[in-house]
Symmetry: C2
Subunit: 288 residues, 2 copies
DNA sequence: ACTCTGCATAAGAAAAAATAATGCCAATGG
DNA sequence: CCATTGGCATTATTTTTTCTTATGCAGAGT
């Protein structure tokens, strides 16, 4: 149907009436009289040539035609309504909530975020750092950046960069490390991903030793401990570039392994807003 | 913004003007005068408290606010417009185009389709049978059912049933087949998936022989040849239940292997319509 | 400077939408 | 069984919104 012929106001009345199940209540929501709603809907039904409601003695019932119409209208009006809500003081402004694994936030995103906000004046980003097992829906996030193999059912994902892991430690500790075998005498810091060290040792041509000690939740924590000379951590060196070039941390070996990558994820069943799509596009481009 | 306060007609004018880049042309599309459009948009800008256009001497330019508004409106109006278009002769009717691998269409879907159409009177399904390498976008399909491991970038997928493969042949051929080794003396019919027979032989505890002969594109063709006694095919027996229970085809061995499953797929970047979503939901429930 | 194109403006005309009052129907309850 | 009530439809009328016509005004090109 051509734009000029779409009876928008009548469709709005229909949507409200269908949701309310009553012309009278719809009239209240629409701030008009019941007769006005009745008129609108009668006219709409006339234009479509189809009844949209069964008027029964105990309320309204949607016909199949009404049933087909309602969800599209509700969704469209909701979306329009929410863009309009983002106008305040004559400015369009949208805030999006992004969950980020701490390592990525600190090692890559934080320092680049300003650039995005600069080029997108209408969008504010609220970062929530968390571990990898974030629940987007429960925490009310629009997007989440996490590390893994890219298998999360129900999520729409896009790849960001790969981040190979390599042993990282303090310079003082590194001086004692000649060959990979010498690692066995060091305290190895490990994450909750139990297979990372074994994979690295295999690539280095060794059998993995049994690793003891606490399991850390965050690479940032492990890096901090490593910097204090309290052990050797297996970390995505790309995320610790700053400390590596400062010399606060060093890479005793070149061997690196790739066990996954970062991804940006969102709920598949929730349409991204313009701002969410813009952020997603920006980060995909910047991080690939 | 509350439903009653959404200035729908003004938003429509804005959408057209923004798309056209001109009030004058928008007026033509809207079948009104230029002054009418000007009024509408001025009023909208006033209500939002924000300019939506920069009026330059060489045409209109969207402000950031206009930029934020436009895509949502265009999408919403397009969607509404297309639901309304599906009303003809006072009935809502939607046709969806579904690509289906022939095997699945013949062996499972066709006989169940009537049930869906019965319970969804406003929806017609057009089936297009094809091989597994269908291109949804190019062929203008809304959905495609295909076999595989579930890795198709750009597609949103949902799992249907698993369909283990097992050798199938005519009863006359089966009588000569005692142990798996006896298969080696038979003509083995093969699909373009070169690894299927090897995987089956491995599970049966044998080394796969070298297989000769043409590569068939469709399990249905192979089943037909097998029924004629022209060889043994490795087929998803669930799709040939009818012929198996008729005794036209038989399963000489119990050993079966699972190399993938059926999936229902659609383009991720295209919002499913109500009917597409309904069909998807129906088939997922019916086929899992 | 003149003309053309395109948006803004003002006042009146037309159209659309809303209202008030009332009708109609079915269910409910003494 | 009749009165009452709740809820949608109808009609005539009023109000509001929207559109039009006519004109103004600004910038760009000739």
């Amino acid at each position: 149907m051509d734009r000029p012929n779409i009876p928008l106001n009548a469709l709005r009345s229909f949507e409200v009436a269908a949701r309310q199940g009553s012309f009278t209540n719809a009239a209240i929501e629409l701030c008009v009289t019941q007769a006005a709603v009745s008129h609108q809907i009668l006219r709409l039904e006339d234009q479509l040539g189809a009844k949209l409601f069964h008027r029964t003695s105990k309320g309204l019932l949607l016909t199949p035609e009404g049933e087909a119409l309602l969800p599209v209208l509700t969704a469209s009006l909701d979306r329009i309504s929410s863009v309009l809500d983002r106008f305040t003081d004559g400015r369009y402004h949208e805030t999006i909530n992004v969950g980020v694994v701490t390592t990525f936030a600190v090692g890559w995103l934080a320092e680049r975020l300003a650039k995005f906000e600069e080029s997108h004046p209408g969008i504010s980003i609220r970062l929530f750092t968390n571990n990898n097992r974030v629940d987007i829906a429960r925490e009310g996030l629009d997007l989440a950046i996490r590390f893994g193999a890219g298998r999360w059912p129900g999520l729409t994902i896009q790849p960001l960069m790969e981040t190979p892991l390599t042993p990282i430690c303090a310079p003082s500790v590194a001086s004692a490390l000649k060959a990979p075998e010498t690692l066995l005498s060091q305290k190895l810091l490990r994450s909750y991903r139990a297979d990372e060290w074994p994979i690295w040792f295999k690539k280095a041509g060794m059998v993995s030793p049994y690793i003891e000690g606490p399991v850390y939740d965050s690479s940032v924590a492990m890096a901090e401990l490593a910097a204090k000379g309290l052990g050797v951590a297996l970390l995505p060196h790309a995320m610790f570039q700053a400390q590596l070039s400062e010399g606060r941390l060093v890479r005793p070996f070149d061997t690196e392994v790739t066990t996954g990558r970062y991804w940006i994820t969102r709920l598949s069943n929730k349409e991204p807003t313009t701002a969410v799509a813009a952020f997603e596009a920006w980060i995909c481009k910047a991080a690939l």
